[in-house]
Structure formats: C-alpha cells, structure tokens
Symmetry: C2
Subunit: 99 residues, 2 copies
C-alpha cells in the first residue's frame, strides 16, 4: 500500500469553493483502480492550507492509472485552479513499528 | 480528533538508526493521554525523508500534554539529533466529504 501526500495551498478567499469542488472530485478518485481511501484535512495553523492523503494499492495506480486517465482531466479541471503554488506530491510506504 | 503532521529529514546515513530509535520512541508517545494512533511512513522519492502522522483527541493533548511532559524529554533525546533541518509540525482537522 502506498500513501500519496500533497500539501495544498488554496488561493485567498476560495476555501469554501475548493471544499465544495473537492467533494465532487472525491467521487472521481474513489472510482479509480487501485484506490483504497482518501481524506482531506484542513490546517489549524494556516486556514488556506490542506493536506490530501490518498492510499493506493501500488505507486503506478496513482502515477499511471490515475494521472494518465480521462477522469484525471476532470479532477484537474475541478481542482487545479485553486492551488497557488501548485502542490508537490510525494509517495510514502509504511514503516513497520511492531518488529 | 486532530492529525499532527511532521515531514522528517534524516541526516545522511542514519535512517536505519533513526527507525530503530523511532520504534523505541513509539512506546513513549503511545502511552500519552489523548493519543489515538500514529504511523511513520518513508518517502519513495527521497530515501532520507519520512512523514510522521499522529492522531490526538485534542490539539492540547499534543501541544501541552505531550510537549510539556517528562516523557517528551525522552522522546527528544531519542529522536531530535537525527533531524536536519528540524521539522515543522502542523495540525489538521478532517474535512467531512460526505455531506
């Protein structure tokens, strides 16, 4: 399982619209192959900042399967105009702590 | 519920020792009042980068209850010398997406 992490900086005054668009966009990502779950969290220290966490079965489910899909074009159209700057996206793997 | 997020940059060559120390430190944080769960994830794009995600019942459980405790001194002694630069820590709240 892979964790996609993106810290999102939303243009001033647009957080309410962003959240509404994100609800719509959630339906897109949730339907993709390899998608497991996602959550959007809003930052307490900075009211125009969010973090998006998406769990995928594999890295390629995100980087190829989603990003090269037609639904990604709809995702982009819904969300990308809210971001300034455009977010860096990174991927993580769980470190086992019980050993 | 509050999500604490810290992106951790580990000094070159010390990731194995860091992970071992983190396992020990996990026992400290897991025993604190208001602690719910935590995970450490390692970055696929940068092998000296991690993200720490900790769920707390309230913001103060982390910022006051943990950080002003004696166990936090042990946590610091175990972990802080691995970081360069010292991490920024931010807190997030879940955005409800089902409405």
């Amino acid at each position: 399982m892979i964790l996609e992490v993106a810290v999102l900086h939303i243009k001033q005054g647009l957080t309410r619209e962003f959240e509404a668009s994100f609800r719509e966009a959630s339906r897109i990502i949730s339907s993709m192959k390899g998608y497991i779950k996602h959550e959007l969290q809003s930052c307490i220290e900075n009211d125009h900042q969010y973090i998006l966490l998406v769990h995928w079965e594999t890295l390629e489910d995100h980087t190829v399967g989603f990003r090269e899909s037609q639904p990604y074009q709809e995702w982009k159209a819904l969300l990308h105009h809210y971001y300034d700057p455009f977010p860096a996206v990174e991927h993580y793997e769980l470190v086992q702590l019980d050993s």
